[in-house]
Amino acid sequence: MDIINSFLQNATWGPFKDFLQLMSLPPERMKEWLSFLIAFMILCELTRLALATVFTRSVLAHVTRCLLTFAVQAIVLAAVLVWADYRHPGRGWINLGVALLMYVIWYLAGQLVLLARPDTEGADLGFMTVGALITFPVGIIAAIV
């Protein structure tokens, strides 16, 4: 029992706390969160497109692809905008610019796949716009309030 207690007491949430802090987009750590968000957007879009033709009977693969069509990226960015504005008030409009940049990255990542596969959809600007209708109103409200 002591071993288990000691094991649990010495566990660290450090990296997760640090990550949560990073997602508040602190101005002094701009390079860090920018790198992370860019990587996140690229990986989401590449994963979505990689799932296009494989695991065709898998519910998990299908749900993942559906979520990555716009929901995950849009909701994560909206949550980041709210969290960032809560932790660093006054930067709401700058953060909206960051979100816009992420949408550009998202689009470019999708179009990049056209270089690899001649028969692919590439970025879906339609559903990206639906995503933008989640991210930006939330971000604007966070910036105003």
């Binding site: 990689a50 299908h62 270089l115 879906d124």
Partner: protein, 373 residues
Amino acid sequence: MHFHKAISFKIFRYLCLLTALANAGGNVGMLLFYKPILHLVGAPLPKDLANFAFVAGFSFTVGVLAFMVFLSPYKTVPLLVVGIVGKAIYAFFSFYFYYHGQLHPFYMIFGWWDAVYTVIFFLFLMQLVSPDLTAINRGDILDGVDRPRTNKALFIYFSMTGNGSRAMKRVREGLESRGYSVAEKICEPNETLFHFPFSLLVFIRIMLRAIFRVPTTVKPLDIPDNHPYDLVVVESQTWFVGMSAPVEAVFQDPKNKGIFNGRDVAAVNVCRGLWQRPQAQLIRWLENVGGHIVGARAYENPGHEPIRCFSLFFFLGSGAPGKPAFLKSILTPQHIGPEAEAELVTFGQALADRKKTVTPGVPLSLLPQRATA
């Protein structure tokens, strides 16, 4: 669909060789010469030599992995996935510890290298998977099975808004112009849920079922296994990134396997924009029930995004095209364009003119190397 020019298979292979040499050779070099190298770049000597050696060892392993992908890309697709995960994690930690001041800038060479290769591996992966689909999307009509031609074709489809019917009408025109007669079997769902126009509640139910792939059932097609059709063409729309439930139900019923088994089959997909996965699902189902794929076509509705996407939402919401009236001038059509229709006529003709294969039932898995190498 549009068929784009893509980076060649050869270039991706040699990019794999490059990282194989860099990872495997570079890490052996680092282990042998880490003192002069780190001195040269002004980086401190590793505090934990054991961990330094472990990391070099793992990185060397990824080099071996990349070399195996270079040697035989189609046989090592899962290794490429491992490579993506390994390189992404390595890049992530490189950046993380660099930003925390715990990693000398010299090591960011490897961080950037792996970040770039994560993307390269992803792109190569997408080129390698399902290359048979690339071959048929290029427009190829594959040889049919070696069995007597009856010049009779069977169409199986379910069209809720009429777009699929429109597409199949054109394929029919093409086949009939080459002497085929065509019979149609429209899938009739047992559930009344699948109808159009629909209420918001019904739309949400169909949407959730499509996302979570909840199956449905259709009324028996009543087509015997020894039917006279030498070609079966199946059409499916995109319902939330996947093939429509009523068409999938045809394949989910084992009684229908005989309709396709050992026959030439073709696939047609029409949609707003996301055709790739529904097409793959339809083709894999056709193969699963023993069909011999001879061709496939996928078409998007005309128009530019994002208005095309919103036009679809308005169409589904109002139950009719061109609504609301004040937006009529910018809303895009909810059916395939004239160019696609003309291509589908040609597709029907090409299907009618398809050759017979010398060896019946050549597995499609043999086609990719021919198509992409």
